[in-house]
């Protein structure tokens, strides 16, 4: 991380939203900006209060090209999305957004909350970080707004200026740094084995579980594979000590820490028809060398030896996997049995006996 000192000399700061973008409702703009400030108040003693009139410490405004007396200008769509100024009087602490961008609350266009949280970081005294996982990395990167966007690097940076939040229990929300794996509603985007480990993926994060000695490690996906996106939808380990990750109609092949050259590729190179847009779950049966891809209520079977999809597929999953009737989030094989995950539940399935042996909570692997 980098800092531009000095920071603000007070903990109570005001902000004012001078104007709104027509791209979003006023309410959504207000909510996005408020949430952006909350990101930083969750990890520092800072308290932000919105004012409607007059000069606030942090003035938030939308403008295009040369705007007002601002010494910097915007460049039309794309390119520069926003900028902000370090703490101080005048322009100090102010945040400007390029109105020529398409501002949204989702993943299309540019997510106002994520950009605002980054710019507020500047307004509080942070400069850019060269850690690609940091919110203060200069390039825009979409992550689900439901995830807490600060990386450890961001938190160290801002706390180096303002310190940690004051210890008044009940007044400050706990720092939501990772989904609570022991929460009753935990679900997973994808699960794969990797040699003797099982890797659970959700959003930007992954848990490495060592079933034999109950160890669990939490990491960011980008810590291992920086070029992989968050929100992986399916993953499996093939017979060549490689993992395949799927998102939308793209897939990547990983060997160790390396993403093999030429990836991502389109899933139709595996033999899926054009109509298949994404993969829900995948697992390679180590006994047969065949990989099952689950999409909705159907599945395809892929022969890893001949590198081709088997004929006669797709078939209805429930016909060949009795009891596995709903859509699957994730599946993996462990000691010959298959574990099918749907939301907060998982079904233990014996492919030889062709029956569900038991239903367990999805977080049973985490020694909760």
């Amino acid at each position: 991380y980098g800092v531009t000192l000095p920071g603000w000399k007070k903990n109570n700061l005001t902000y004012r939203i001078v104007n709104h973008t027509p791209d979003m409702s006023k309410e959504d703009v207000d909510k996005a900006i408020q949430k952006a400030f909350k990101v930083w108040s969750a990890v520092t003693p800072l308290i932000f209060t919105r004012i409607q009139e007059g000069i606030a410490d942090i003035m938030v405004a939308f403008g295009t090209k040369a705007h007002g007396h601002c010494p910097r200008y915007f460049d039309g769509p794309l390119g520069v999305l926003a900028h902000a100024f370090p703490p101080g009087s005048g322009f100090g602490g102010d945040v400007h957004f390029d109105e020529d961008e398409d501002w949204t609350t989702g993943s299309d266009g540019f997510n106002l909350f994520l950009v605002a949280a980054h710019e507020v970081g500047h307004a509080l005294g942070l400069s850019h970080s060269n850690d690609q996982r940091a919110l203060m990395f200069p390039n825009y990167a979409y992550i689900s707004p439901s995830e807490f966007p600060l990386s450890p690097d961001d938190i160290s940076g801002i706390q180096s200026i303002y310190g940690a939040p004051t210890k008044t229990p009940g007044k400050r929300p706990a720092i939501p740094t990772s989904p609570n794996t022991c929460g009753s509603q935990i679900s997973f985007d994808a699960i794969t084995t990797l040699r003797r480990e099982v890797i659970f993926l959700k959003g930007r994060r992954l848990w490495r579980v060592y079933p034999d000695n109950s160890e669990v490690e939490l990491e960011l996906i980008s810590a291992f594979w920086p070029s992989l996106p968050s929100g992986i939808q399916a993953a499996y380990e093939n017979m060549k000590d490689q993992i395949l990750f799927f998102k939308g109609n793209n897939f990547w092949v990983i060997s160790g820490y390396k993403v093999l050259l030429g990836y991502p590729k389109n899933i139709n190179t595996l033999g899926f028809p054009k109509g298949v847009k994404k993969i829900d779950a995948a697992v390679c049966n180590k006994n047969t060398g065949k990989t099952d891809f689950f999409v909705g209520d159907k599945y395809w079977r892929y022969d890893e030896n001949t590198q081709s999809m088997e004929k006669g597929y797709p078939r209805r999953t429930v016909n060949d996997f009795p009891g596995i009737s709903s859509r699957i989030d994730a599946v993996f094989q462990h000691k010959g049995l298959f574990y099918f995950f749907h939301g907060s539940r998982q079904l233990k399935f014996d492919s030889t006996a062709k029956k569900v042996l038991s239903e367990i909570k999805s977080n049973s692997w985490f020694n909760c």
Binding site: F74, V80, H83, S127, H128, N130
Partner: protein, 81 residues
């Protein structure tokens, strides 16, 4: 003689110059800049940018560097604050 395509890519040159002037130029007086030619100065800034983004530090506007420069980003400079 065949024209070297890279040299002929005015757009990329403008992109590089605009990017470096926006995000990697520290206001310095001419003494500090010394006798560096424009090209040397640009190469030095490019290396700084490539180092910041974890790219191969070539001092040249290679494809990877140009791709990084085209990504939407924040308008605050990466250096010099």
């Amino acid at each position: 003689l065949p024209v070297h395509p890279e040299k002929d890519n005015k757009e990329d040159t403008m992109l590089v110059e605009d990017y470096l002037s926006k995000f990697y130029t520290i206001e310095m007086d001419s003494n500090q800049r010394g006798w560096k030619t424009n090209a040397e100065f640009t190469a030095e800034q490019l290396q700084k940018m490539q180092r910041f983004f974890g790219l191969k530090v070539t001092g040249k506007p290679d494809t990877e560097t140009l791709e990084m420069m085209k990504k939407p980003r924040c308008g605050v400079p990466d250096v010099g604050l």
